[in-house]
Amino acid sequence: MENTDNTAPLFKIRNIVKRFGSVTAVDDVSLDIRRGEALFIVGSSGSGKSTFLRCLNFLEIPDSGTIRFDGAEVAAGDRTLDAYRSLVGMVFQHFNLFPHLTVRRNITLAPLLTGRMTPEEADDTASTLLRRVGLADKSESYPDQLSGGQKQRIAIVRALAMRPEALLFDEPTSALDPEMVGEVLGVMRELVKDGMTMAVVTHEIDFACELADRMIFMEKGRIRAQGTPDEVVRHPADSRIAEFFTRLADKRR
């Protein structure tokens, strides 16, 4: 991570394969993600997009392939994996907040346990971030007292508190009631504007089109199309991809 060349890709992902039994969920995916890039990954259920994202921070250990982060290869089982994960935050579909801790303790737990911050720093960081997402008044609440949208905003803050270099979003709005999607997307929009490196798995095509620097369409574990939203969605490469986006658009009506 000594490489500070801003033009070099932050992630260099090569030939990632992940199988579950006889099913190949991710089939030889290679990809670069630039620093500050907002990458959106779309595709139908079972296309392998979530598994691919989880491979990026080794929640799923790839069967083969390499990931280089900031120039250095990340190896599974390595002691440096914890350090790597602390630089690549993850936001889950089901939030996964710690229900036995207050919102503030949810946010400060990792910065404190990893020795990244002093208690005062962690507290300040939590307060600042909570204000940014409009939840300063919830710092002493427990997760079960919050709405889904509030929980997901807290989960984003929890990931941000580690001051990560990149954030992974695994369908961050799929478990939310429709009226709560907007508040989470609002926070994500802010992050894109701030130049955070992001990889987002989502079904929110309009949102993806609005913010994506690059969009990837996955099918059967492979990247079927990639490019700007305009290239992928409005001028799809083949009829199957076009059909997917049409179906998605129909569903929303």
């Binding site: 921070n57 929640l59 914890d82 350090a83 790597y84 994960r85 602390s86 630089l87 935050g89 993850m90 889950f92 089901h94 996964n96 907040l97 710690f98 229900p99 036995h100 737990l109 990792a110 346990l113 990893t114 427990y142 079960d144 007292q145 929890r158 990931a159 580690m162």
Partner: protein, 492 residues
């Protein structure tokens, strides 16, 4: 020695020091006087019985006299008759003085002193039984005390008898028509017949036998000392005097005379069982022992349970720690696959066989190890029931497995399983009632002692049951409140 018992010994060696601190009943030796440990089954009047909280009778009185003449300090322990010889054989006690008949089988295991009394087996029946002769032994249910000459005699010559733990229970079985006749030693039979006007002894003695004290084959010095002193006591008349006095003392039952109605009778029984001789203290002290053993066992169980659960679930989730997991699984299978009574006896007679340790320590070790196996699975279930996302969230933030386990998973798992752990406490509270097998005077044993003194089954058993029930209800209620409190906190 097998590998397993070696492992258990190591386990015991680890547990002993930590538990020692918690023990209230010490194992310290007092003074410079040598101590002689005598074991008996103190429910065999007039040879041995508990009176006013002390074990007395012919055997203790003779052994006490022998000790005094040879400058020993006497310590008497009460245990089931079936364990008495084993206790001497394994070195847990120096002398077995429990109205033991000399037989060839027993001679193989221990040495016997010269006989100090000649006893006969007698048949006892209910007065309303009508004609009953020796021939009837073939066709009737016969009650005996297990391991006694009566047991062997009936088994060998007549039929399989109904075996009870002590003479009062045998007699109770006869009175409540569980059996039609009993075969017991003459001396206790006389005492029981005197106390129970509805019972009668048949005049024909069955088998004549010698009683002697049992001493380990490794202690010829002790054997010699006993024989020499017994000869002196026979010569100077002390032996006859002790036996006669003990018989008289035993015959004088402390039951109050009653005349009249049911209420008076209940009152009199209550007084006999709980007030006379301060017998309620057996229940009170027993209750204290039961609570102490239960609480310490649960704590030990939770400690073991946590260790095992963490090893097992770490293995389940990561596939590492294969050997440790195998050891833990072995522990679970063995402990959950065998009765707790057997575990208790193994720990007492096999693992702690040559150590003079507090029986509370033995009980806590046995019940703690037992409870640990169940607690481990409770805690493991608590860990596995948590959403996988909790571990993933912890790890994705850069926390190590250990940090995630300690700060994220275990606090939640513990909260989830708190009610189940409380339940385990209640189950264990009742399970400790088998402590009497190693002669620990817990609540159940307290009731037994009263029964053996008053020849009354109903009230002591009821009292013990009511106390257990009250304690269980109290803790169930406490647990219910705790659960509701937790739910409220979760819902907030």
């Amino acid at each position: 020695m097998s590998l397993k018992s070696k492992m258990l010994r190591v386990l015991a060696a680890v547990l002993v020091p930590s538990l020692m601190l918690a023990m209230v009943s010490g194992c310290g030796k007092s003074g410079k006087k040598r101590t002689l440990v005598m074991v008996c089954n103190a429910a065999f009047p007039p040879f041995e019985l508990v009176r006013e909280g002390e074990i007395g009778g012919i055997d203790p009185d003779i052994v006490r006299e022998i000790c005094e003449r040879n400058d020993y300090e006497l310590k008497i322990e009460d245990m089931p008759f079936g364990s008495v010889i084993a206790a001497v054989q394994t070195g847990k006690a120096d002398v077995a003085a429990s109205g033991i008949t000399v037989t060839d089988e027993r001679r193989k295991m221990i040495d016997f002193t010269d006989p100090y009394v000649t006893a006969r087996q007698r048949i006892m029946v209910r007065k309303d039984a009508g004609e009953f002769s020796i021939e009837c032994l073939d066709t009737n249910l016969i009650g005996v005390q297990e391991g006694t000459t009566g047991d062997m005699f009936v088994t060998k010559h007549y039929r399989e008898p109904e075996r009870y733990k002590n003479v009062p229970e045998v007699v109770q079985a006869l009175k409540t028509r569980k059996v039609n006749a009993v075969v017991v030693d003459e001396e206790p039979a006389r005492a029981e017949a005197a106390a129970n006007p509805d019972l009668v002894l048949l005049s024909v003695p069955l088998a004549t036998e010698d009683y002697a004290f049992g001493i380990s084959k490794r202690r010829p010095d002790l054997l010699n000392m006993f024989n020499v002193t017994l000869r002196q006591m026979k010569a100077d008349g002390t032996l006859d005097r002790i036996i006669a006095e003990a018989r008289i003392r035993c015959a004088s039952n402390d039951a109050d005379a009653f005349d009249g109605g049911l209420l008076d009778r209940i009152k009199a029984d209550f007084k006999l069982n709980f007030v006379n001789g301060n017998r309620y203290r057996y229940l009170l002290n027993g209750f204290g022992v039961t609570m102490l053993v239960t609480v310490l066992s649960v704590l030990l169980g939770i400690l073991l349970g946590f260790l095992v659960a963490i090893v097992r679930s770490t293995h389940d989730m990561t596939g590492t720690h294969v050997v440790a997991d195998a050891v833990c699984r072995c522990y679970l299978v063995v402990i959950r696959g065998t009765p707790v009574v057997i575990q208790l006896l193994i720990i007492y007679f096999v693992i702690f066989c040559s150590l003079d340790v507090s029986k509370i320590l033995v009980a806590v070790t046995a019940f703690g190890i037992n409870s640990g196996a169940y607690t481990a699975e409770i805690i493991r279930a608590g860990i596995m029931s948590l959403d996988r996302g909790q571990i993933e969230a912890g790890r994705s933030l850069g926390l190590s497995y250990r940090q995630t386990m300690l700060r994220v998973i275990l606090p939640q798992a513990l909260r989830n399983v708190l009610p189940a752990l409380g339940n385990e406490f209640i189950v264990l509270l009742k399970e400790t009632s088998v402590s009497g097998f190693i002669a620990l005077e817990d609540l159940a044993k307290g009731g037994d002692i009263i029964r053996s003194q008053t020849y009354n089954a109903f009230l002591p058993l009821m009292a013990v049951a009511v106390i257990y029930l009250a304690v269980v209800m109290f803790f169930s209620r406490l647990l219910g409140n705790l659960e509701r409190g937790l739910q409220k906190k979760n819902r907030k």
